[in-house]
Amino acid sequence: MTATLPPAAPVPTARWLLEPQVGLCACAPSGRRRKGTYVTRTIDAAAGVVRAALFAEDAAAQPGLLQRLDARVKLVTLLGLLVAVSLVQQIPVLVVAYAATLVLAVLSKLPLGAFVRRVWLAIPLFTGIVVLPATLNLITKGHVVVPLGSWFGHRVGMTAPGLTGAARIVLRVATSVSVAVLLTTTTRWTRLLAALRALLVPRMFVLVLGVAYRYLFHLLGSVTDMYEARRARTVGAEDGRSGRAFVAASAGALFGKSHQLAEEVHQAMVARGYVGDARTLSAFRLRALDVAWIAVAVVAAGALVGLDRGL
């Protein structure tokens, strides 16, 4: 294309077009690598929330075991299992409990790879890094089983109680997060709200929760719009000061928007007969599967704690 053009007087290219810009692209030959500016990170975070919500909606629509259960039953039994897991102290029992969550995920037709990734990338991996120093004899006293050398004349190494404690907390966190993810991904949020109502959470609180969840995505859309627009009109790198000013202004504008939306929602509610009291449709029915599941959950929780004490 350029070859066919008649030779013209060379037009000097603007300097700023030739300069490698840190903010534009991570691949620019600038010698510094960034993971993205605050703009892209905020957009990514907003997209991440929507992605998680969509993943949960898809998973909740699958014809699996946990999806078929009554939301009240599921909420109470999984909370009970969480308590049981938090009481367990023996590592083999925790391994069994974690394996059980994987079985439940398979029975609920969740994509196993995505499930494991979501659980482990969220917290347990981070927990493992955080508790690593606690395995040293500087923090947890005990018999050194993995000597790591000496530091200022002291022997430093990983102790047996330290390693046990670290393995225990990582496994417990992984199992707890798995149970929570099982609950959130196999239940539609409307059913979860109704289940909360059935658990004697005050009606007003459930109503606030429902409206908040509904308009959360609206506000996320506003944030994405603002930050996309910012990205579209930003050329080159931005200094921190103007970036912070923009973040503060966008948060302030977002609050203005959410207040205006609250006024509109209130008027819409009043127009539909809202007088300050909430009513919910409750069409819960216990079926044989629910009763069987309650029995399984009680036995499982008892077995976990009993096995733990017995070992």
Partner: protein, 436 residues
Amino acid sequence: MHIPDGYLSPATCAGLGAGMVPAWWAAGRRVRRVVTSRSVPLLALGSAFCFVVMMFNVPVPNGTTAHAAGGVLVAILLGPWAAVIAVSTALLIQALFFGDGGVLAYGANCFNLALVMPMVGYGTYRLAAGRSALTSRRRAVAAGVGGYVGINAGALCVAIELGLQPTLFHDAQGAPLYAPFHLSQTIPAVLGAHLLVAGVVELALTVGVLGYLQRANQPVLRLNPAHARLRHRPAAVDAEPEPASGQGARGGAAGPVRPGRGGGTGWRWALIGLAVMVLLTPLGLLAPGTAFGESSPRQLDLAAYHLDAVPHGLQRYAGFWHGALFDGYGFAGARHPTVAYLVSALVGTLVIGGVVLGLSALVGPRQRRRHGDAAGHPDDAADVDLRAAAGRVQDSGHPGGAPDVDLRAAADRVENSAHDAPAEAPDRDAAAAVPA
């Protein structure tokens, strides 16, 4: 700052969750009394806002970004009790719908982020802002200071909760059952990060948002009942003669009147904060060891510091003062250490408070005289009111917004300004219920 499940023992979770129940109950009552039927959408959007603000990445020097928590910001915008509910709701959405933050640890997270952080931060903000005008720079900076103090108070609670776990819950071999780090490690680690980075980010965001709203959207700032009162400042000052306290007489007619009711709430918050800290002092008993031979040079573990002998200066000055009333914060014979700590804390606080009061009695009158000469007070207030009015006009004429809502809100405001206590005006909702 969210604590996931598995870090805290079930007993800790249950205790903190039970502690949150009265807070939620009180918050529900307060909020319903102040905003009645409007409360549901306002709180819902407030908590959605809170959720979203927690995702904002704030650029910090060195090219990285950090998150803000926003609890204090919501407390300043909606009032502290509304913030308790809004932040709790945001945390519940994170825990239940997105599996972020613990389900069992929900009560603990609420205690740190939805109760301690907004309350301490808001108290600091009210103390620092005093009765300054709604649009003053001081108010924005006070909000930032509140954010900084609030997030650090929350972080301190997190550190204490995590640090107590290995002391209270471990197996026979001493292996920790839950979080493994001790208080002496969690407090520096968690608090250091928050004092240096997260607190500064919180400060920057809170100052920025308040500054933006002061410039661009003042009506929204008046959502907080405490801010709505500020509008009446000139009238309120006239209407509050306060003959009983004698402060009005001292302030004079022309000079700035010393804080009356607002100052009273500030004192109350300060006293509550001090009382909480006094009650927490026995936590120091849990810390193992002493700080570099604090109580006696002989207790110094010389080998740990690669020393051959106790340093000469330390030896010489160690026994310099023997007249301590509570030696080592304890009674003679080291009986009842917890009670001794509480008594020491109380006595120390009273002594320091007395010294500060004495100094301020010496310095105060001179400063007040100097400020009284400036006498910019009435003009100042009028200026603020004009600016507020301009802000309101600008807002209702905003092309992007839904005009009828703004007009209605403006009408509400005009109506409210006829009342002395706008927050409790009963016909506010009646006006909103009439179809447009």
